[in-house]
């Protein structure tokens, strides 16, 4: 186990190096940070001074090492838009994103277990068809549109919940529902199908034949065997939500998280901030992946064998 964790850490180090390289190539080689970040009216001297300040007049390799060194020490430079270090901006909005994502995913996971298990009880029945149909519909709706419809109904017409911003618990409701929808649909579908597979297996029949109550068979035996694929998907949903869906949902509800900050930074041409956010999310993803891998080896001894 110890050597596995070490190997996994080394591999993640390589991945972070890869991300650093991609960020470097895209921003410095393809793009031109000087003209992107300075106003159009900047003089040639100002441009030269700025290029010197961020080290653009150095050879490419030296630039890369300076760049990588800065990222690893979490020195992302100064945000041109907010006039303060990028790391401070990120430290301010990361907790907001994590709050939203964890509330949404916790709700989605609980609901998915419930709905998936109910649907699997009678495959092809009315309840199953209804749940599967709604799940498919949920996967087919763009999140930003669901968010806007919720605002339309709950805020504009019913005036029940606030439509944007952050503050009370009520502000969390609509963004969390919107963010939860897609993961909920996907997790429900997965749990339903793996549950149906499990319920058709011999050991379920044996347990029933022994006279074990069905609810106990379901919860103690079948549900347990669906854990591994379900948790794998849940981890993947966490990554997708944190780095993908939350950007959209935070924009719809003006939730002051990483995603909204990234979009605003792009609109203002604040390259350092965009870079910082991308790198932070990448490191978070790598961390989540390691934790999940180690967790799975601890839960399921079969994984260690191959």
């Amino acid at each position: 186990m110890g050597s596995y964790i070490l190997g996994r850490l080394a591999q993640s180090g390589l991945v972070v190096l890869g991300v650093t390289t991609v960020v470097f190539i895209v921003t410095r080689v393809f793009g031109d940070p000087v003209s992107l970040m300075l106003p159009l009216s900047a003089t040639a001297e100002q441009k030269a001074a700025f290029a010197h300040q961020i080290g653009l007049d150095q050879p490419l390799l030296a630039q890369f090492f300076a760049f990588a060194g800065d990222l690893v020490t979490l020195d992302f430079g100064e945000s041109l838009w907010q006039r303060r270090p990028v790391i401070e901006v990120i430290a301010d909005c990361l907790p907001n994103s994590l709050l939203l994502v964890s509330v949404a995913l916790a709700a989605a996971t609980l609901m998915a277990v419930l709905l998936g298990a109910i649907a699997a009880l009678r495959p092809g029945g009315v309840i199953d068809k209804a749940i599967s149909g709604i799940a498919l519909l949920g996967l087919s709706m763009p999140q930003f549109w669901v968010g806007l419809l919720l605002i339309l109904v709950m805020s504009v017409y019913l005036k029940l919940l606030p439509s944007s911003g952050m503050g009370s618990a009520a502000h969390l409701v609509l963004p969390a529902i919107t963010l939860a929808l897609t993961p909920l649909a996907r997790q429900t579908m997965l749990l339903r199908s793996s549950m149906i597979d499990e319920l058709n297996k011999q050991y379920v029949r044996t347990a029933r034949a022994k006279g074990m109550p069905f609810a106990r068979v379901l919860i103690v035996h079948a549900l347990r065997n669906t854990w591994i694929p379900f948790l794998t998907l849940a981890g993947w949903e966490f990554i997708l939500t944190l780095a993908g869906y939350s950007v959209v949902v935070e924009t719809v509800f003006a939730w002051p998280g990483l995603g909204l900050t990234a979009i605003q930074a792009i609109q203002r041409g604040d390259l350092f901030l965009v870079q910082g956010v991308v790198f932070t999310i990448a490191v978070l993803i790598v961390t989540v992946n390691i934790v999940l891998d180690i967790l799975f080896r601890a839960i399921d001894p079969r994984i260690g064998l191959n």
């Binding site: 895209v26 393809f30 709706m141 763009p142 999140q143 930003f144 806007l148 339309l152 780095a243 959209v248």
Partner: protein
């Protein structure tokens, strides 16, 4: 058998297959309805200049924010109402289908071609090539495409070409993984070994013997990827990172309608319904294609319908 006869019989089998397929589609109503909606949307995009009642960009400030026709202030010249600049929503929806479908097709084509090529190469060669290529796929899969998209768009700006390139670069991995897995298992099969022993060129084995097995599953995968790309394009356009005005796109229309959500619900509602119907139909149609082309699934369905018919009779 002469050549003429062979051609006739080939034509006859083809015709029989096509009519069997049509019958099958007629029996599965979800598949049929989804196909009709898809054909409708494609026709809408192709014939947009003929169908659309107005120029999608034509502004008319005296008619701004007209509600849909069935409401109080609505007029039948603008069945779905007008937006904040007095542009006809129906016409914008009809024109908006074009870029969505164009981008989706291009990305599926490029991403699919890249992924299939990588998958064939890795799966056929195995060994170190396979290791390196699949490691790249693993790493890229573990990173949501949006990070790369944010980065590239912030540096290079937005355009339809950038959008296609970026989405292709973030959507090829599924194809690579799938093709590689299938190729690896097919390489073990007797007929591929036979072809190797006879001395077939690897390219001939790959394209003549292995690739035909992949066509239908690749089709299903492409349709599913298409839905992801439609949703991704809509989301990016909504965020202002995708299609830019004056071009029209459903996602873009929803974004501009967002500012008027308190006074005009129809601006965000109708383009959204279009996205949902396109994606939902694609999902349903792909599941029909999958079930119809998979012998195991067909057998299950046959048994199911047979049992239910017997159940009814007794």
């Amino acid at each position: 058998m002469t050549q003429q006869q062979a051609r006739n019989s080939a034509q006859a089998t083809w015709r029989a297959n096509a009519s069997a397929l049509a019958q099958e589609l007629w029996r599965d109503k979800t598949g049929l309805v989804s196909l009709i909606i898809l054909v409708g949307i494609v026709a809408m995009a192709l014939f947009a200049p003929l169908i659309a009642p107005f120029d999608p960009a034509a502004q008319s400030l005296s008619h701004r924010l007209t509600p849909p026709a069935w409401l109080d202030r609505g007029v039948w010249t603008h069945p779905l109402g007008t937006d904040h600049l007095g542009r006809d929503i129906l016409s914008r929806i009809i024109w908006g289908a074009r870029l969505t479908l164009l981008i989706g097709s291009c990305v599926v084509l490029f991403g699919g071609a890249l992924g299939t090529a990588v998958g064939l190469w890795a799966g056929y060669n195995g060994g170190r090539t396979d290791n390196i290529l699949m490691r790249i796929v693993d790493i890229q899969v573990s990173f949501p495409g949006i990070l790369l998209i944010l980065l590239i768009v912030s540096v290079m700006g937005t355009s339809v070409v950038t959008l296609i390139v970026v989405l292709s670069l973030t959507n090829w991995m599924v194809f690579a993984r799938f093709v590689r897995g299938t190729v690896m298992s097919l390489r073990q099969s007797a007929y591929v070994e036979a072809a190797e022993i006879v001395g077939c060129h690897p390219a001939r084995i790959l394209f003549r013997h292995i690739l035909p097995n992949l066509i239908t599953p690749l089709l299903v995968l492409s349709i599913l990827e298409f839905t992801n790309i439609v949703l991704a394009e809509a989301a990016l356009s909504f965020l202002g990172l995708g299609i830019q005005p004056p071009a029209t796109s459903w996602g873009l229309d929803i974004a501009s309608g967002r500012d008027y959500i308190y006074i005009a619900w129809w601006l965000v509602t109708f383009p959204g319904i279009c996205i949902v119907s396109l994606v939902l139909s694609l999902n349903l149609f792909s599941s029909w294609v999958r079930i119809t082309t998979d012998p195991q699934e067909r057998e299950k369905r046959f048994a199911h319908s047979y049992m239910s018919r017997r159940g009814k009779r007794s």
